[in-house]
């Protein structure tokens, strides 16, 4: 493995399967997430991708930013195509055409994962295919222009539920997608964020090594959709974790581990304030969000404590 030498003392591959020259927005947290995921996975992977920002910015004909086998699927289909590839490889091996070992990795945005592809993912988890599903959660349908999804947090302004005189932005709470994955009793589920790159890479590596369906949920800050300056991407990810809005945890065979548990959480206001999509929030709404975050965090902590 080629590494960065004196750079970042721990092992980080220099060349991964996702190259520069991609056309993501300046400061895109999702592109950073893909880069780190690919650094962790190495080259023996087959990537199946749902359409969304990361597909559109990385594969504009006649270019590709991928240096590993990569296949486009429909918006809702990555778990299905991944299942097919995995089953096909198994069948070929069984019928005497041995293939080199390669992990099948499906990648989708939050729209693809929480909404339109949910049934397909559930099916693939339930059938027990040996594959990793990575959700790049930027909390809206960004590729088509910031439409709300069921991952959009309460109060956030989007183009389909804009804040104004009548609406206060998203009126529902964010769907708990990791909990849905956990409910399938799959061997490994984890949450991660590029602001904690080593934690992210370790989790992806672990998930890829485990046999069976695994799920890694990555909060990917989107400066364009969240309406923040491009250099704030890492800061915002860190604030999401430090306020308890997006806790980092993993669940291995049902056992919960909280990976980052500060003695005191920061107030959610620290996270909401810098973001244009929350600019309109009233103190009452902030309080409501704080209450919800505190309750959910406490419940997660309890699960981690009881193992």
């Amino acid at each position: 493995m080629e590494t960065l030498g004196i750079y970042v003392p721990r092992l980080v591959t220099k060349r991964q399967g996702f190259t520069p020259g991609h056309r993501a927005c300046s400061g895109c947290g999702e592109a950073l997430a893909v880069k780190l995921v690919m650094k962790a996975l190495g080259r023996n992977v087959i990537v199946v991708m749902s359409t969304g920002c990361m597909e559109v910015i990385s594969t504009q004909l006649p270019y590709t930013a991928w240096e590993v086998p990569w296949i486009h699927t429909l918006f809702e289909n990555s778990a299905i195509v991944a299942s097919g590839i995995e089953a096909g490889m198994k069948a070929l091996n069984r019928k005497g055409t041995p293939l080199p070992k390669a992990k099948v990795v499906a990648i989708g945005g939050d729209g693809a994962t929480f909404d339109i592809g949910l049934g397909a993912i559930s099916g693939a988890f339930e059938r027990g295919h040996d594959f990793l599903y990575v959700c790049l959660d930027n909390e809206a349908y960004m590729n088509t222009g910031i439409q709300r999804s069921s991952a959009t947090p309460f109060g956030a302004s989007t183009t389909t539920q804009p804040a104004g005189k009548v609406s206060m932005g998203q009126s529902t709470w964010k769907k708990n997608m990791p909990a849905i994955a956990i409910a399938h009793d799959i061997p490994y589920v984890a949450t991660a964020c590029p602001s904690y790159p080593f934690d992210l890479m370790n989790k992806v590596k672990k998930a890829a090594e485990i046999e069976g369906p695994t799920y890694v949920h990555i909060l990917s800050v989107c400066p364009t959709g969240w309406r923040i300056p491009t250099d704030m991407t890492i800061r915002l990810g860190r604030l999401a974790v430090e306020t308890g809005v997006f806790p980092l945890y993993e669940v291995e065979n049902g056992k919960y581990t909280l990976n980052y548990d500060p003695p005191r959480l920061r107030p959610v206001e620290d996270y909401l304030k810098p973001q244009g999509r929350f600019r309109h929030l009233t103190p009452k709404m902030v309080k409501k969000i704080q209450q919800r975050v505190s309750v959910e965090y406490a419940s997660l902590k309890e699960k981690a404590a009881s193992g």
Partner: protein, 294 residues
């Protein structure tokens, strides 16, 4: 056919060129004219060069729907674009080129003078002062008002108020300030265009593509230059750098590499100038400087 004015706006994704074009069209329509506004961009994102267009006709319907290739007026929102995009391409003789730049008119004229009116205003400074953000779309409307009668301030006020609500007043002020501060040079028929080589993408014809549009060269996006999207450029102070590599780990373009002496360096072919490296370096060894091209 009566007078048709065609305008081409050059901006970067996120700078509001599309809003400028929309406000321009709304003002023309309020005045009783016919107008179009529409953008043109590919899958490139925030930071990438984008175009927006206007057509304004005094009293006739406009049937043409295609991009403006021979504009009467060109407006450039970002000075950095002057050196990476051929902004005067197709600009009509006797037309107008309006530039946001901190440079003086005489200096700009040496580089971009031609058989067109040349107008320069330091819109970024005005916007920073009045709006506190370097977004110059409304400010540059003031410069447009100065050189053209295609739209009028009186009819622009309402669209700005509708679009910006509470912030409208400050945007109008910025627009008026730009009107005052725009300096204009008359066309110089003798000066000829300075020849510049602009990076151009060459596209294969569909017959050259593999069946199913399979791309057979892995990672060929490496040849695609995203460095042109940059408005600010990272600069390293090696005295402060401890070679930890954090900047390189957080770069979404993965374009920071050690040089021969082991110090990190951004590959400017790819760097989009997001500023993450500068924000995250704990020893503050990196600062973001104005992008200087040429």
């Amino acid at each position: 056919m009566d007078k048709l004015t065609e305008i081409r706006w050059h901006g970067r994704g996120g700078q509001g060129a599309v809003t400028s074009a929309e406000l321009t069209a709304l003002a023309a329509i309020k005045e009783g004219k016919f107008a179009q506004a529409f953008p043109s961009f590919g899958p490139e994102r925030r930071g990438a060069p984008v175009l927006a267009f206007n057509r304004i006709s005094e009293s006739e319907h406009i049937r043409v729907r295609s991009a403006v290739t021979q504009p009467d007026i060109v407006v450039v929102l970002d000075p950095g674009l002057l050196y990476i995009v051929d902004v005067t391409s197709g600009l009509k003789d006797g037309g107008a080129l309006i530039i946001n730049s901190s440079k003086k008119l005489v200096d700009i004229k040496l580089e971009f003078g031609g058989p067109w009116q040349l107008a320069v205003v330091n819109a970024t400074t005005i916007a920073l002062e009045l709006l506190k953000v370097p977004i110059v779309n409304t400010t540059m409307l003031g410069a447009l008002l100065k050189v053209s009668d295609a739209i009028k301030l009186d009819f622009l006020l309402e669209p700005i108020e509708e679009r910006f609500g509470k912030l409208a007043q400050r945007n109008i002020e910025a627009c008026k300030r730009a009107y005052e501060e725009t300096s204009v040079a008359e066309p110089s028929p003798t000066s000829k265009k300075v020849e510049r080589a602009y990076a151009k993408e060459s596209w294969p014809s569909w017959q050259e593509l593999a069946p199913g549009f399979v791309v057979t060269e892995p990672g060929n996006a490496r040849s695609y230059r995203t460095g042109d999207w940059r408005a600010q450029c990272p600069e390293w102070n090696h005295d402060r750098c401890i070679k930890c590599g954090i900047c390189s780990l957080f770069c979404p373009e993965d374009c920071i590499r050690p040089n021969e002496r082991g110090y990190p360096e951004a590959d400017l072919y790819y760097c989009k100038g997001c500023g993450i490296c500068a924000r995250e370096c704990w020893t503050q060894a990196i600062t973001m400087g104005e992008e200087v091209k040429e």
